[in-house]
């Protein structure tokens, strides 16, 4: 069994062991789940260490015939794009698991589902067979549904069902696309790499691209398919919000990188301008709507819509810089928004309220929390020296020569980010202290532990982006070449 299989199935093993433990042993279950996610993180680090930077193709490949009648293979592999997502998943899953210690009810089910979720996510990012990809994609959906629907807030059923049905509708279109690719290829195959070698007619490509686009767009979510996101985020428990924002959303854009672009290059370029327009609308629209929010979590959720717009904009321009920026933005947005959701959770655990207007002056009472919140907000609004800046900067630099006016419009999104985040900081931390919150305690050591790795990475990537870019540059260069984009 190769390293990637270990990665995919370690959480499943953890889940089975947890299911065998008595339901009252909360502590044991928590520790076991944390141990499993920590092992997973170590495995990811092992992959990172063994990753060959000079190679552009798939590494750590594993291939075994699974369903011979359909030509379905158990086919795993890894390149720069997957690697970066794998790192995000491994890290955030571990941190969110530590952040889950606050879960008090039905602990056993929670952690079992959580580990199943991790398997689904890792599997999605390493599978190279469309059939396998689709299975993992759906495996993610089910635990997520329960995690929102059981441990969520007051409108959890609504949010969970909306999330499930909406994304399932998307996956349905995706499945159609996958089947169309299967039947159009000669010989029939689900192999992503082999499909990339096929030359499909432009018209066919457009149809399939559209079907896949719907599936991915709902997941990202691209405007106007984004409305499940605020609801799901608001209702989901904190660690699940983190996972949702940091990893699940990236599955959509990962789909573009892994499937739509290499297999359907002409259609992708044909749809490029449209995607760019949707991206810019999403950036500005998300920014404005985030500004209008009074719910802390909803604000962060809409800011995700805005920030994911940058990923799409980078994808839409077919330049190396744009692609690098987009992929880096996927990574940095995962770190930053993950941290922001953790911070919202910290505040919510203490105050049991998320209404921005009811806070004020908390910085006096919670100095450490205030400092961390400001740090993460600054990262999110693209302060130079922190990670968010580098990726947005690269996206904008990459898109500028292609769509000048769209880039200028997208810059407004940066302004908006400053507006809504500083407005949030002012309403939560600054001003005079509301006496209602005089009893609040500052952030605990465990909560700091979940945030510090993210902050270190945010700073590190912001100051020296090459540590991430070196992993993704060769792969993306090859991708840009294969889709006929511009390198220089």
């Amino acid at each position: 069994m190769g390293l990637l299989s270990w990665l995919v199935f370690t959480p499943i093993v953890g889940m089975i062991v947890i299911m065998l433990i008595g339901r009252d042993q909360h502590k044991l279950i928590r520790n076991l789940a944390t141990f499993t996610t920590a092992c997973e993180l170590l495995l990811v680090i092992a992959v990172l260490a063994k990753f060959d930077l000079s190679q552009t193709g798939m590494q750590f490949a594993e291939r075994a015939l699974w369903i011979p009648q359909l030509g379905v293979y158990y086919h795993l592999g890894l390149d720069g794009i997957s690697l970066i997502m794998l790192v995000t998943t491994g890290l955030l899953s571990f941190l969110a698991c530590v952040a889950s210690f606050g879960i008090r009810e039905r602990v056993k089910e929670y952690f079992a589902l959580y580990l199943l979720l991790e398997t689904g996510m890792i599997g999605t990012f390493v599978s190279l067979d469309l059939f396998l990809f689709y299975i993992f994609w759906e495996v993610v959906l089910v635990p997520m549904y329960f995690l929102i629907g059981i441990w969520g807030g007051p409108r959890k059923e609504y949010a969970a069902i909306k999330f499930f049905l909406y994304t399932l509708a998307g996956s349905m279109f995706m499945l159609i696309g996958i089947l169309a690719l299967y039947f159009a290829s000669t010989p029939h195959t689900f192999n992503m790499l082999a499909l990339g070698q096929n030359q499909f007619a432009l018209h066919f490509q457009q149809m399939v691209f559209l079907a896949l686009f719907l599936g991915f767009a709902i997941k990202v979510p691209i405007w106007p398919f984004h409305t499940w996101l605020p609801d799901a985020h608001v209702e989901a428990p904190t660690p699940i919000s983190v996972i949702l924002a940091a990893i699940l959303l990236k599955m959509g854009t990962y789909g573009f990188f892994r499937i739509s672009y290499p297999i359907l290059p002409q259609a992708a370029r044909w749809f490029g301008p449209a995607m760019g327009i949707l991206a810019v609308i999403g950036i500005i629209y998300g920014g404005f709507v985030a500004f209008a929010q009074t719910d802390f979590k909803k604000m962060v959720a809409y800011s995700s819509v805005s920030h994911m717009g940058f990923v799409l904009l980078g994808l839409a321009v077919f330049t190396l810089t744009g692609f690098q920026g987009a992929l880096l933005q996927m990574f940095t947005h995962g770190l930053i928004t993950g941290a922001l959701f953790l911070l919202v959770g910290v505040l919510y655990d203490r105050a049991h309220i998320r209404d921005l207007n009811s806070f004020g002056g908390l910085w006096v009472k919670l100095p450490v929390y205030g400092g961390i919140l400001i740090f993460c907000s600054l990262a999110s609004l693209g302060l130079p020296g922190l990670a968010g800046f580098v990726s947005e900067f690269m996206v904008l630099l990459g898109s500028f020569p292609v769509y000048r006016w769209m880039t200028a419009a997208a810059c407004v999104g940066i302004l908006l980010a400053a507006a809504y985040l500083l407005y949030m900081i002012q309403r939560v931390l600054l001003g005079s202290l509301n006496p209602k919150w005089a009893h609040l305690k500052d952030i605990s050591a465990r909560e700091i532990f979940t945030l510090v790795p993210l902050m270190i990475l945010i700073l590190l990537v912001g100051v020296y982006p090459k540590i991430v870019l070196q992993y993704i540059a060769p792969t993306l260069e090859a991708l840009v070449k294969s889709v006929g984009g511009t390198l220089a």
């Binding site: 909306k162 049905l165 909406y166 405007w223 106007p224 984004h226 409305t227 499940w228 629209y285 404005f288 709507v289 500004f291 209008a292 929010q293 330049t319 190396l320 810089t321 002056g361 910085w363 006096v364 400092g371 600054l378 302060l383 130079p384 020296g385 800046f389 580098v390 900067f393 690269m394 904008l396 630099l397 990459g398 500028f400 020569p401 880039t407 200028a408 810059c411 407004v412 940066i414 302004l415 400053a418 507006a419 500083l422 407005y423 002012q426 931390l429 600054l430 001003g431 005079s432 202290l433 020296y464 982006p465 090459k466 870019l469 390198l487 220089a488």
Partner: protein
């Protein structure tokens, strides 16, 4: 050498990190960390400046990012221009950090203040030493951030928090232009290095619109940071911050970054008619407008804030008319006397128990002698009395406007000089002469505050000499590196500027010493003129009504749109599906399921009869078995 240069910004950064992590333990000692770091970098900067004066330029780079196969670099560049800035930032900065130890001594967040100051010094020095536009943009944002923190340092006050946000966002508007300017410039020329920006580069693009556009976009960054019209609104509000901050960031250094940017890109701006005209016009408009607003302000710091905007307008105008040396020279002298004015104002506020309103002050001359004398030196310097520093640098600006045939600009700037003289002496007379009008006991400030005042006063007096005929215009040839023309003193210009100074002084004297009733009467008579100045031409109200209101309502509308229309569609699809399913459900229940149920019912009924045989008594079964066997036997036989 490079390491020494890199250490200049790194030392304050280390101080920042130390105070952030150990501020709780260090408590009041953290101030000394900041003071030590700033003095040390001042010392290091001194070595570097001496090196530059000796004729060497330090230039080192390291690749940060690769975009389109072009490396984007970070590094240090110490040439005459940045050496001048280094001098200003480290020297004035160190003095202000020392001053702050006295000014802030009662504040509960004492360590935090010094952490921010150190972070600011780091960012500002990084900006000064930048080798590329991108590096400058990065530190540009960082100084903006420090400004945000420091304006909102007393964040319990709503107005302070609000002012910080306003400053940051107004700056960001300019910065978007800055960013787009970098992008345009980068894609046009393929470089972002300052050393590549030479007249030859700009000439290669003569007749093309791309470089003028990028230059104007870059200039919008300077408009934001240097509070030029129409983005000047943030600087007066920034006075909510502690006074040393106003002196360091909002007078001497950060707001000068815009001037520094234009000076760095001077070959680019100078190469095109349109860009230099825009720059000159914006600078002149700002200089005049802000001086006009300053005439009637009563908050001591607001007067100085508008004065700063006006003086920055002077520098921009100087760069616009082609006076690179004049603009940089005024930047340096202004840093000294404006920092001194702000620190003096801080000393007054400190001595008058936090009173800032000029109408309550008066007669402070006797209770605060050191503050008064240093303030007087600064006032004379800014209004341009020979031979103090402001005289030389302001003269230089007027001279470049005059020599380059920009006569309208020349006369507008001369008028502004008269207005400057008026409002500065008005401030001086209101605060230090006459009788104390408020109810407080004024006292002189502690030594830690007066020593920087004295040093700065000496500086304000003499710092103009290197650019004067006394030292043979040494400063100008230093900045220009022997390339540009050096203007020699023109007696007409000197006469005009001196006349303007005295005119302003005279009017102020009449208004505030000789006939103190006159201003009120005049204000009533020409109330429109007066209230337009008092209300700064209603810029804030205008922006509030148009942009901010529009922004907020657009946000609200879009949110409702999102909830009702976009999400509404999704939910409607859901609800319609549910309704459709109800119909289908009926069909299913009564027709399709009916058939199924009928089958079931039929089976159940029949089996109901048959099951009567199943008695559960074994004997019955045995009996039936026996009977069965008998029947079989009978039929077989």
């Amino acid at each position: 050498m490079v390491i020494r240069a890199v250490l200049i910004p790194i030392l304050p950064l280390l101080a920042f990190v130390t105070i952030v992590f150990f501020g709780g333990a260090l408590k009041r000692k953290s101030a000394w960390v900041a003071v030590g770091a700033s003095l040390a970098s001042c010392l290091l900067a001194g070595f570097e400046i001496a090196n530059v004066i000796g004729g060497n330029t330090l230039y080192a780079n390291a690749t940060w990012l690769v975009v389109n196969r072009v490396p984007i670099e970070f590094g240090v560049l110490i040439d005459p221009l940045s050496a001048m800035m280094l001098f200003v930032v480290t020297f004035v900065g160190s003095l202000i950090v020392i001053y702050s130890t006295g000014y802030m001594h009662k504040d509960p967040r004492y360590p935090k203040f010094f952490a921010y100051l150190s972070l600011f010094l780091f960012s500002m020095l990084g900006l000064v030493l930048s080798t590329t536009l991108v590096q400058m943009y990065l530190f540009w944002e960082l100084v903006g951030l420090c400004s945000y923190f420091l304006i909102g340092f007393w964040f319990e006050k709503r107005s302070a928090a609000q002012a910080g946000r306003k400053a940051f966002i107004t700056n960001r508007i300019g910065d978007i232009g800055f960013f787009l300017g970098i992008a345009t410039f980068f894609y046009a020329t393929g470089t972002v290095r300052f050393v590549d920006i030479q007249p030859e580069l700009a000439h290669a693009y003569a007749g093309s619109w791309i470089l003028p556009v990028s230059a104007l976009l870059l200039f919008s960054g300077a408009i934001g940071k240097s509070a030029q019209f129409p983005l000047h609104v943030w600087l007066p509000d920034a006075m909510e911050g502690p006074t040393p901050v106003s002196a360091l960031i909002h007078a001497a250094t950060m707001v000068a970054a815009g001037i520094y940017l234009v000076a760095r890109l001077f070959p680019l701006f100078h190469a095109f008619e349109i860009t230099s005209q825009v720059v000159a016009v914006i600078g002149t408009t700002t200089a005049l407008g802000a001086a006009y607003f300053a005439l009637t302000q009563f908050d001591i710091k607001k007067v100085l804030a508008y004065s700063t905007i006006s003086q920055l307008g002077y520098m921009v105008a100087a760069l616009g008319v082609g006076g690179l040396a004049a603009g940089s020279f005024h930047l340096m002298t202004h840093a000294f006397f404006k920092a001194l004015l702000f620190l003096g104002a801080g000393s007054v506020i400190h001595g008058c128990s936090d009173v800032q309103d000029l109408r309550e002050m008066g007669g402070l001359r006797k209770s605060m002698p050191i503050t008064f004398w240093t303030f007087l030196v600064a006032t004379l310097a800014i209004t341009g009395f020979a031979p103090l520093s402001g005289f030389w640098s302001k003269d230089e600006i007027l001279l470049s406007a005059f020599n380059h045939q920009h006569l309208i600009i020349f006369w507008v700037l001369s008028l502004t000089a008269a207005m400057t003289s008026f409002y500065m002496f008005r401030l001086l007379f209101l605060a230090f002469f006459g009788k104390t009008r408020g109810k407080f006991h004024a006292h002189e400030s502690p030594v830690s505050m007066t020593i920087p005042l004295i040093i700065l006063a000496v500086g304000s007096a003499v710092i103009g000499l290197p650019g004067s005929p006394v030292m043979d215009h040494w400063f100008q040839s230093f900045i220009l590196g022997g390339h540009g023309e050096i203007h020699h003193v023109n007696s007409f210009v000197v006469a005009v500027s001196t006349a303007m100074c005295f005119l302003g002084l005279l009017i102020a004297l009449i208004f505030y010493i000789v006939q103190p009733e006159l201003p009120k009467k005049l204000a009533e008579k020409s109330w429109l003129f007066y209230s337009a100045s008092q209300n700064k031409l209603w810029f804030d109200e205008l922006y509030d009504a148009s942009f901010i209101r529009g922004f907020k309502s657009l946000a609200g509308i879009l949110f409702r749109f999102d909830e009702r229309v976009v999400d509404g569609c999704v939910n409607q699809v859901g609800f319609k599906t549910v309704a459709l399913s109800r119909v289908k459900n009926w069909i299913d229940q009564y027709m399709i399921d009916g058939l199924v149920n009928f089958t079931g019912w039929a089976v159940r009924t029949t089996s109901g009869i048959v099951r009567l045989l199943q008695t559960g008594v074994i004997h019955h079964y045995l009996l039936i078995l026996l009977l069965g066997v008998l029947v079989i036997l009978y039929t077989v036989s």
